[in-house]
Symmetry: C2
Subunit: 212 residues, 2 copies
Amino acid sequence: MKSEHIPKATIARLATYIQVLSEFKREGTDVVSSERLAEACSVNSSQIRKDLAYFGEFGVRGVGYYVQDLITSIKRSLGIDRAWNCALVGVGNLGRALLRHREFSRKGFIIRGAFDCDPYKIGEVVEGMEIVCSRQLPAKVKELGLDIGVITTPPERAQRAANYLIGAGIKGIINFAPARIAVPKHIHLEYVDFFHYFYAAAFHIRFDESRD
Amino acid sequence: MKSEHIPKATIARLATYIQVLSEFKREGTDVVSSERLAEACSVNSSQIRKDLAYFGEFGVRGVGYYVQDLITSIKRSLGIDRAWNCALVGVGNLGRALLRHREFSRKGFIIRGAFDCDPYKIGEVVEGMEIVCSRQLPAKVKELGLDIGVITTPPERAQRAANYLIGAGIKGIINFAPARIAVPKHIHLEYVDFFHYFYAAAFHIRFDESRD
């Protein structure tokens, strides 16, 4: 690997490449030209080459990419050739939707524990998983070998959820709550804010209207 | 506005700036130094200046940014100083979570219609909204003045949902379904794939482990 400083945009595009390549695979396509892959991913082929160059050399001149090989290589490069065990904290509407979301296990992120502070929720079973009190996180993280914490609490409880997860020895946090949180340097933190897609749509629609 | 080619990463960061500025506002902070804003947003201050420069001149030398003024300016620049009416297609787990998500109306994206093809769901009321058959989209888009379509169907139904929305005259589509879809050029399309945040976390955790 050339560098730990792989741009975030590259990792986001790699996610797209895997999705599109998986669609090609399902359709029975074994080899795909770089132009066809680029078109299906809505990027240009030099961008794909640049993104893949962080991880090694891929593709065969005059042929293109072997679909299965490229999926395997990207997954290995990203570290998703193994399963990652996740703890979800905050079993509200969004939490429940994620617990029921089939793509998680398909993509190698297995939600193995669901945690909440609400005594009315503790003991409830969602998707075959019993909701456990967040105070039990340290014991459960060890017992279940949990790597990544997923925060889906209301914003005002996000920091507390993060503290529980960090104290329990989790290595990374994906924060869906609309609140900034503080974590020590050794914890990898990602904010999920899907509103920026809405902002982008609003911005472009208004821009188009202003030109009409 | 200098250009329609505002990088996506800039728009994503503007979303973060608005969120952090709103937190400062709630705490009663009227003026914030560029260093403090940068730190709270986890970017450097020259990046903030660069992002804002697409839209005009902001900030007062030696003072920083006026919190409310900057929120107002960013919202106007992005086109979110008005409300946007949204149609949600696909009332499964994720669809329901979005219908109940309070941040939508807070951020100016009002979900005014919920659509599904499933006869068992049509007529059901979620969050005070009756689920309507997707075939009624053309009538409802006109009646309710809907601007943006939100697709939360299973992947295999995403293209059909998009076709309904496009036929109904929607201007932009936010696709949460894990499938690529085809839309005409005048429709602004955004894919929401929150798995790339998981990929990024997995990648960085493994990279850190490999250095230990």
